[in-house]
Amino acid sequence: MDALAALGGGFVSVFAPMNLLAMVIGLVVGMLVAVLPGLTLVMGVVLALPFTYKMGVAPALVLLTAMYCAGTYGGAITSILFRIPGEPMDVPLLWDGYEMTRKGLAALALGWSLVAALFGGLISAIVMVMLTEPIASIALRFSSPEFFSVVCFGLASVVTLSGASMVNGLISLCLGLLVATVGVDSIYGAERFAFGLPFLQDGIEFLLVMVGAYGIGEVLSRMMAGDPPAAQGDRATRFLTAFPSWVEMLRMKATFIRGTIVGILVGIVPGAGATVSSFVAYGLENQYGKAALGKGAPEGIVAAKTAATASVGGAFVPLLAMGIPGSGATAIILAAFLLHGIQPGPQVFATRPDLINLVFAAVFVATVGKCILGYIAIKPLCKVLDAPEAVVSAFVVVFCFVGAFAQRNNVSDLYVIAAFGILGYLFERLRFPLAPLVLGTILGPIAENNFMTTMVSFNNDWTVFFTRPVSGVMLALAIAGLVWPLARSLRARYRERKDSERGYTPSP
């Protein structure tokens, strides 16, 4: 009952004038960012961060949370209507959503995506409220070996789910962890990898790595790729939404539930986020669902969209309970907390429960708000597609630099961000995943501090990481997560070799 009353307090805070204004701005900007193919959701949240420096912590959190929630929906509209995925998470919607448009069922496709976003978002928000505090109270009993193992598990999952070569993922992670070691170490005060350069002695802020790699790196990649493919579909399409009937929705309840569970679970795993959820849910639906996907089946829309939106609630759980971001966007929200002197984690539930409930309530309100906006404002939202990509990219670069400069008013941060921009481009080009680099930079100091504390407290006995139950299980899961894809690949090669020895050629 107390928890409900506290959540009620969170809702009251969200509807306070300044917070409500931040919510509306966040929803509109989040939708626009998601609609524009040149801007990703994470980039959008990164670019909004400098505007929160001078805000109070409450409107800052509401703004970024609203952008995050809205960003998981906007791209669905352009995917379905014009075959332009605003976000990578919306790619599965091309296969069924755009097919429905081609069959003249665009309004219904939009209706299904809206219902899926609302269902996935609200259920995951409820799960988030129910799970976060119990997990935080468990985390309160964690000691440094457990925190180290949880971070290792998160980092391993980022590599496993990164979608690129595992070795490249691990190298990217190592680079991120190394970047985090630059500067003066927190235990002995020793200078590491600064090479006498004053700006490196202060360390490299993870925000600069994020803004450079995701923002500038993405812009450079798009310059190399040239103009995006022209939109397919009639721009004069009437921007109407038709909702499915209750009976139709009930018939698809298994798809709704599957997508939501996948979204929440993948969202909880650090580093995975909405894109991975969307693809995994679509794949599961293809395997276990009744409908044949890829030919305009609403099940394809529902599976991908419920999972993408449900990942939001999931991603907030590790952030609020343990201070470990579950996705790129929650990493920025972590930065917003830190910029206001608040370290998310189990202690926040005792020191600032109002902020936790504010975030909970903001997720609920933003989920409903994005659906209302997605229903009434499709036409003006799609207008932004007329903006030339080169112009949008130019503004993105300027926003990135201002964001990097404004945090510390330090000109040398501009060099760092440009360097990581070029590195981000090279990573994309050479097929090194970016997420492990960024998450490694964010979680590196947490991992190192807990590793060093453990080694000092337990007289350099590294076996404690394996002998303590929670720590041992988390490390075992991390190792299994890394070994499993490798084992799967070796097994596939072995089978292939056996087949070729027997002279059998598999059909394409």
């Binding site: 070569s165 680079l175 190394l178 170490d185 190399m224 630099f401 090194f432």
Partner: protein, 173 residues
Amino acid sequence: VRQALPHAVLLAGAVALYVAASRIDVDTGGRIGPAVWPKTILVIMAILCAYEIVKRLLGGASERAKGLVEGLETPGEEGRAEHPRRLAGGVALVIAYVFGVQALGFFVATVLFLTLFPLVGGWRRPVLAASMAFAGSFALIVVFMRVAYISLPLGMGPFRELSIALIRLLGVT
């Protein structure tokens, strides 16, 4: 050999950084020192790079050992023509902007950047680009300095005077 080049560069970097980490000299009183963590990471990274180099030299680049989620690329991206000149121009402009913003101040550097970047990116409407750049830079100054209270680089010499005159015009003290 070309396919193994990125990993060879990373391996060389890891070795160089390992040498640098070995020079971190702190009295730890028998406890684990500040160099252990980065050294461990560097050893892991070097092993991974060496493994990938050998693999690529023996069997060519292979994307076989992927993560759990494969093929997350947007369809249609792979067939698009590449524009290395645009990229080179973009990189040059980004670097020029970093230095330009310190010398010319935010407003002038941003007007120039916002005019040139779309042109380099293939948008062939210079007059519109310049107009948008001017209006956009002015709007950004208003938003950042008046709304978000973010101080921006003023530049040097006459450009500093210009920036100060502009922010006075906006009523920022």
